[in-house]
């Protein structure tokens, strides 16, 4: 059975996972504060780390991703769900510190920074899957399909269209490279 860690699980944790939250009134199995000392687990202890609507709240995105990478086994996966910065939900919660786009994590990709590895972190991830959701109107008009099925169109959308054809939520699945 895969070992899954649900970080910032909230009131409903992912079935079968070990769940962590800072808030004791949630479904968490382990209460800890990510921003104060990281995750209380050994290296390579999980097959998957899930962080659903979490990363936009943390004090340090890079430190948190490094921590997820540490506790995940080589070849394991990290699943993130977070608002796109053009979605109004990104600005509706006064605890959202970060406003991210679909390229925000190339920081961790091998050769991600203009063909070079980012020299400020040793954590390496590979993008396995990325889905961007758009507002209903734009989905109905086929823009969501294009954004998710043509890499060049996603770049064009981020650069030219995304303040009009606004995004909603992004789902990233990364493979942990060690």
């Amino acid at each position: 059975m895969p070992r899954i860690l649900d970080v910032g699980c909230g009131p409903e944790k992912y079935p079968g996972s070990i769940a962590v939250d800072m808030n004791p009134t949630t479904a968490a199995d382990v209460i800890c504060h990510l921003d104060r000392g990281g995750l209380p687990f050994r290296d390579n202890s999980f097959d998957q780390v899930r962080a659903i609507h979490l990363i936009e709240h943390v004090a340090d995105v890079i430190g948190t991703m490094e921590e997820f990478h540490r506790v995940t086994r080589p070849g394991g996966s990290i699943l993130l769900v977070t608002p796109h910065y053009t979605d109004f939900s990104s600005f509706r919660d006064p605890t959202h510190r970060w406003h991210l786009n679909s390229y925000s994590f190339i920081y961790f990709y091998s050769g991600g920074m203009h063909g070079r590895d980012m020299w400020y972190t040793r954590t390496r991830l590979r993008e396995r899957r990325l889905t961007v959701r758009l507002l209903n109107l734009w989905r109905a008009l086929g823009f969501e399909f294009l954004v998710n099925h043509a890499g060049w169109f996603r770049r064009f959308w981020e650069q030219y269209l995304s303040f009009v054809i606004r995004g909603k939520v992004m789902e990233f699945e990364f493979e942990v490279v060690k």
Binding site: F91, P94, T95, R166
Partner: protein, 175 residues
């Protein structure tokens, strides 16, 4: 006479208010780093004003918890802050938070599961959004302020084109 507290009053204090600021080159009556807490007793003020302040604080929840503490039950809290689509939201490197007209739903009538994060409760009395002049002239500002449904539609679909300026929140303290 109502007791009014102007938090982060700057050089133009609200008339008749007690001003508090960290910087001496202001009209503050009380000088202190109020981000560590407000130096007043519980339930002292009829009105607390935070004008272009909340976008700069370290922790919005802690700040509002302090405001809630020093305000009387039923007191008025006035918050003015840039809308996240206004360039003013990005003009100052001291701005930590980029907020929308729904950013304070958290503190009023939200699901109970959020009580842990926001134990201080307020009631939203009024939300007013100002738009750029052009859009005001074309009637968008009127519509946004007239109907909550239109305001939501504007936030979701239009606000990066029909851009906002400042938002005014009037909250009532519930104790």
């Amino acid at each position: 006479m109502p007791r009014i507290l102007d938090v982060g009053c700057g050089p133009k204090k609200y008339p008749g208010a007690i001003g508090i600021d960290i910087h001496p080159a202001t009209q503050a009556d009380v000088l202190c780093d109020w981000s560590r807490g407000l130096p007043f007793r519980d339930s002292q003020f009829d009105e607390v004003r935070l004008i272009h302040v909340i976008e700069e604080v370290n922790d919005i929840f802690k700040t509002l918890a302090e405001v809630h503490r020093v305000a009387k039950p039923g007191a008025r809290v006035v918050i003015v802050t840039p809308h996240y689509t206004d360039h003013a939201s990005y003009c100052s490197p001291a701005h930590r938070w980029h907020l929308s007209s729904f950013s304070f739903w958290f503190f009023s009538g939200q699901p109970r599961e959020y009580d842990y994060y926001a134990p201080a409760q307020f009631r939203e009395r009024r939300v007013g959004v100002r738009l750029l002049q052009l859009w005001r002239v074309l009637g968008f500002e009127f519509l946004v302020n007239r109907s909550r449904r239109f305001r939501r539609f504007w936030e979701q679909y239009l606000s990066f084109l029909v851009r906002g300026k400042a938002i005014t929140f009037e909250l009532e303290v519930i104790k």
